[in-house]
């Protein structure tokens, strides 16, 4: 009886301790829900199309008209009024999928796709925790060409005026300027229209420029254009060589997010770098959809620590074999990392197994 009550005490202790731990975490969730929290998502997923758990994706012929619905949610603990509208898909700086602002058009192939969607509401008021289905109709233009077009369904909250200084002058110091920001929050879900026909992947590296020069060194920006009719992601390298292209000074791996068809977009090279005064050549090699895009031999002259981009000075710097070596090195590097991880895991497993075996033997001897 005494033993039973001890074990019960242990169980109760564990339960109370865990609940206390949980209670310390709950305020984080409560804190976030104290602010407005809202979203939009598809109501159903299509079998075999995993992406439809997250966003709308349709394979449709030109001229198709059909109906669907989106679920709009208020996860917060106060009532909210949300604007809801269709937007054109566009690629933000640094890649990925983004959406135009209300009433604005994007510039790529998805320009005007917002007009393909007719929503049953333009504004929705939701009480705390409420969800509402918003039906919409999609009409694909009859004369549209093949390719992947992206629109979006966006919910937008009224702007918060967040800074306390807003609108308050400082009469004591007339030479002062004060600054405040309002924040508009939006949540968007993509609506992808895949129109059958020839799919073309094309990428042009348009430019390399100096985006920033500060204490961390030089940060470069690369301008890319998706010249095809499908979206894709791209990986590759930013290569800096000496002016004669005889010595590679540094290579930075690049991993760029989605670029929508027809979009021209800037990506920042993820690491800034410092170079000694001198003359260099900059090159970009990218791989996408089984193809490669190259921009090479862009001159850079650094004088007194200040880089200056000089335009293309040399071409045909790298042979196909040279480029192959860059990608092969990367693959070798990543497989080597996995080999190291696998090796360490094996040794750890061996150690734990050995310890268990040793502990078991010791127990048997004691018995």
């Amino acid at each position: 009886m005494i033993k039973m009550s001890r074990s019960f005490r242990k169980v109760n202790f564990v339960i109370v301790l865990t609940l206390l731990m949980a209670l310390t975490i709950i305020p984080v969730a409560a804190q976030s829900s104290a602010n407005i929290s809202f979203g939009i998502r598809p109501t159903k997923a299509i079998e075999g199309q995993e992406e439809t758990f997250s966003y709308f994706s349709y394979h449709l012929s030109p001229g198709t008209v059909f109906n669907d619905e989106a679920l709009v949610m208020n996860d917060g603990d106060e009532a909210i009024i949300l604007k809801i509208y269709a937007a054109d898909g566009m690629t933000p700086q640094n890649g990925g999928t983004g959406f135009s602002k209300a009433g604005e058009l994007s510039s790529g192939m998805s320009r005007g796709t917002q007009g393909w969607i007719t929503l049953s509401a333009t504004e929705v008021t939701l009480s705390p925790g409420e969800e509402r289905l918003i039906p919409f109709q999609v009409s694909i233009p009859a004369d549209i060409g093949a390719g992947q077009y992206v629109a979006g369904l966006v919910v937008e909250a009224l702007p918060d005026e967040q800074s306390s200084g807003l609108g308050v002058g400082n009469s004591e110091n007339p030479d002062e300027a004060q600054f405040a920001v309002k924040v508009v929050r939006r949540v968007g879900v993509a609506v992808v229209f895949d129109i059958p026909g020839e799919q073309i992947a094309g990428l042009e590296i348009k430019d390399i420029s100096l985006a920033q020069q500060d204490d961390d060194g030089a940060t470069f920006a690369i301008e890319l254009k998706n010249t095809g009719n499908i979206f894709f992601q791209t990986q590759g390298f930013f290569i800096v060589t000496d002016r004669d292209a005889e010595r590679v000074i540094t290579t930075t791996p690049l991993d760029f997010d989605t670029i929508l068809p027809g979009d021209t977009i800037s990506f920042f090279v993820p690491r800034s770098a410092r170079f000694a005064d001198g003359k260099y050549l900059l090159s970009i090699v990218l791989e996408y959809e089984g193809k490669r895009a190259i921009l090479e031999g862009i001159g850079m002259n650094i004088k007194d620590g200040q880089p200056q981009i000089e335009g293309q000075i040399l071409d045909n710097l790298f042979t196909a074999e040279d480029i192959e070596v860059f990608f092969a090195k990367e693959e070798k590097g990543s497989s080597f990392n996995w080999l190291v991880i696998a090796g360490i895991s094996f040794l750890l497993a061996l150690g734990v197994g050995g310890f268990v075996f040793w502990a078991g033997g010791k127990k048997e001897n004691t018995a």
């Binding site: 339960i15 975490i25 997250s54 933000p92 966006v154 004060q178 405040a180 949540v187 993509a190």
Partner: protein, 168 residues
Amino acid sequence: MKEKRSVYLGILTAIFAASLFITHSAALSITTSAVSFPAVSLNGQDQVVLGSTSAWQADAAGESGGWNATISATNFTNGFGGSIYISNLEFRLADANITLVSGDPTLPSTSQANYASLSESALKFISAASGTGDGIYDFLPEFRLTVPAETYTGNYTSTLTITMSTGP
């Protein structure tokens, strides 16, 4: 032996109960905190001030298809014809400033670790690849404003648009 089993059962029950409290099926959402800048005494020189804000939060619990967040902004205007081009406002998010609140321990990554000028065009600053980012994450962005020498006095306001998106 039975006692041990009871203890283990208790632990499992408690962990399950705790997980019920922690997990939830939320809308993809982003919570921002106020961004404020110190007042600047104009002295005919360019001046740089740092913005201050507390942690923002991305709630992507239940979202495993990947997501991203972008920021764009308008020029600062004072309502009397004075303006400061938005390119004077810079933004960055260091990887070290992204932390897990709950969910997938693989943290989303920054897309803008170095300061970049803001513009009316969207700039992606944080993202999670497909199969990751199913969780709640806090992050602390940094703002830097250059107040040009020719700035007039007044109360300047800019509008930031923060968008959280799912898509290909």
